[in-house]
């Protein structure tokens, strides 16, 4: 692959200890705010545990060339065309009900791209880079965000779970390895791309931790062999990782512990703690005090909660996003830009 021009790419990552804390909503808000800031984001739905932003938002799948058997031709150039919402829904249903041995039916998902890389790596051959630029979805309203959703179909979820295995370099697992190459494909084929927003699966062990390790290594330019050649000055990475939590004690305590321990070990870049969906007017100092109390006398003095940020409830916008199929960027959502560091230079 040809060397890239010098460019800056911001990676905004959203992780969480548990599901249902609004991680995907914040990732989508982040992508929309990047557009508002005049940049070009891709939103990668890496939460492959059974839900999909394609189902939550009104996303239209790209038209991809098919083989005579009806399989996706991932290496074919982009058609520049998209299915309607209704066509996308019908294709999804067809894929859901297709026979298990029929692979890669449309609509195309992130799963198909990872699958492509995984098969190639498993065979030990050089993998041809798929035309990811032709596999990106768009919103019905064409909101300026490029979407790469995962599949919520049972067969796809089951398969993606199988990718969780140790890569030969003993550092990152197969899923992360394949995603790294997907990023490489995206960056080389979409030169206009400035921001990558990644919605990670819930949980801070396994995939999520591995992904955060990868991104931190990437920012530090310390990638192992077998990964894209990013260890050059070609790309200036700006990493902006968040751990999203609710203010529930069973969520907040492990979130604080994860942030504290990783900050100490310095394996991953410091994570920002976003406490989401807090009631309007919640006193951040009180929440910090509760955090210190939960951590106990030994760890409560460490100041782990120091950089905690609160995201107040947005019932009419963020909270209703997946019911309405879109996020309306009102003034309150715009105010999130500062909290999410969309406009800041991030290191």
């Amino acid at each position: 692959m040809a060397p890239m021009d010098e460019r800056t790419v911001r990676i905004h990552v959203f992780a969480s200890v548990k599901g249902g804390v609004g991680k995907s909503s914040l990732a989508i808000a982040c992508a929309k705010l990047v557009v508002l800031a005049g940049r070009k984001p891709v939103l990668i739905d890496g939460d492959m545990m059974g839900t999909s932003i394609a189902d939550g938002l009104k996303l239209c799948a790209p038209k991809v060339e098919l083989t005579n058997e009806g399989n996706l031709k991932l290496l074919a150039p982009p058609t520049g065309e998209f299915y309607t919402l209704e066509e996308t829904r019908r294709l999804r249903a067809k894929r859901r009900d297709g026979k298990r041995d029929v692979a890669q039916l449309p609509p195309v998902f992130l799963n198909d791209i990872l699958d492509h890389f995984d098969d190639g790596f498993a065979d030990g051959r050089e993998v041809e880079i798929p035309r990811v630029d032709g596999l990106l979805w768009r919103h019905e309203q064409d909101d300026g965000v490029l979407y790469l959703p995962s599949s919520a179909l049972r067969r796809d979820v089951a398969e993606s779970l199988g990718w969780i295995r140790i890569h030969p370099d003993d550092r990152f697992d197969g899923w992360v390895h394949c995603l790294a190459w997907t990023l490489e494909a995206l960056l080389s084929l979409r030169r206009d791309l400035t921001d990558i927003v990644i919605d990670l699966p819930p949980g801070t062990v396994g995939l999520t931790h591995q992904m955060l390790l990868l991104l931190s290594s990437l920012a530090a330019k310390k990638l192992p062999k077998g990964y894209p050649v990013w260890n050059t000055e070609a790309i200036h990475w700006r990493l902006n990782p968040f751990l999203v939590s609710s203010d529930d004690r069973n969520d907040l305590l492990p979130a604080l512990e994860y942030i504290g321990q990783n900050k100490t070990r310095r394996e991953i870049s410091p994570l920002g703690l976003l406490v989401n969906r807090v009631r309007i007017g919640t006193d951040i100092d009180a929440l910090k005090e509760i955090s210190r109390d939960m951590l106990g006398p030994a760890l409560g003095v460490l100041g782990i909660e120091r950089d905690m940020k609160l995201v107040e409830e947005h019932r009419e916008t963020l909270g209703a996003m997946f019911r309405k199929g879109d996020l309306v960027v009102d003034k309150k959502v715009e105010a999130l830009s500062a909290i999410l560091g969309v406009d800041e230079r991030i290191s």
Binding site: T264, A298, V301, G303
Partner: protein, 471 residues
Amino acid sequence: MASRTDVFDLVSLASEIPGSLPVTLLGSRFPNEKSIATQVAQALRFLDNPDEIPAGRIAAMIIFLRVAAAKQPFVKLAAGTIDLREVVPDRFAVLLERVISEPKPDTLAAHETALLQVCAGIIQHISEPHGISVREGLWLTWRLFQWLCLQLDTLDPDARREGMRRLASRAPKVEQMKEPMDRLDPFGFGRDRFDIRLAAVLHAFGVMEEVWPVIPGTTLHKISSRQLEENLIALASRAPEGASSKSELEWNAPGTIPDLALLALLRLKLSGFGDLPEETRRRHIEALPVAPDRNRPEENRLPEAIVNSLLLTTMAGDQITSEERQLIIKKLRDMEDSKTSRHWRWIVFTGLFARGEAVLEYELFTLFVEHAASFRIKVLIGLYLLSLASLAVDRFATTVDKLVDAFVDRGASPIPIALGLGQVCQHGTGEGLESARGKLRTLAKTKPFCDDDDVQELVRFLGLVDDGADG
């Protein structure tokens, strides 16, 4: 009396005097859910029509609603269930704007000062020739005013307005009034003198954050809003009103509008001092007391509550300029040496040291040794060590050793020093971080640190021992 069913109403009414008195009855205001709903509905009605409500009652309602919002935020009213945490901040902001504005003509608010002065004149008159104490006189004045308001409420609106007009016209002229003897003496009231309605509301905003009980483990909610805080900033920035007098009744707060507004602002927003105009901030810093442990009437002293909040704010405020920091250092150093001044120096200098005032290093060492047994030591020593690791890393390890020795010599536990090193391990960088990790690892193996559960938990968490670190 014991058999009367309106005991609570009677006592509530008696406590509706501007100041801290309404706080004493808070406990009995929360007997059951139904009762709270009734009281909340009434309080909200009062706040929506403040011009017809006496200042003391408004103040009592503010405090009640603040506590209700913390204790029982969801209230079922006729119009549906409301969340007080969402409803109350806006009501408070609107109320303050209403009270700042000129009251509508022919309302209780417009006549309140004159009616209070009539009551004060009556009490003064009937207590002659022997007279009564200031406290008794004030108490009877306010009780008479409450009785008068009750009588006025029984009249139809036209008769009420006419009654208020006629009574108010009998109030003594300013030049006929005696010098006010007390902050709550009506002879000192007036919109161009001491605006009792505004003062009562500001007092309630200040006191409400102090009185409601802390409920462990619950997330608290600020009952504040930008609109409310902006109005408080504007009021706190007003020109000083001269010397502030105290009260024999339960006022327990500053006696001027700007100071009351500042106190309310600092209670609602700890960093609010930084939001004031620089000139106002400087004036307050200049007014820090010279001898905090001695009552020196010649000093134009800031009330202690403001001083404490102001100094804490200074420690946390990003908006404080370098010149202001230097002025604070000078004022604190110039203070008469005492336990209080050293305590203030310890807290504020720690904050300023963290903001790069390296010159405070050695003075702070002494102050930390003196305050080794303070309950604040756990938090402050971490901040001190973190700053030290950044500003003087070459002396870091030896300073920690000297601190440990000094604490032990003083008979205080050195454990907080180890916990403070944990903060450096968490937030430090470069050489300072490595130095802190090495020092903590070493200390943790020695007595008394090796026998302390907290220190051992800390070193395991930080990965400073070979076993027990959670991968």
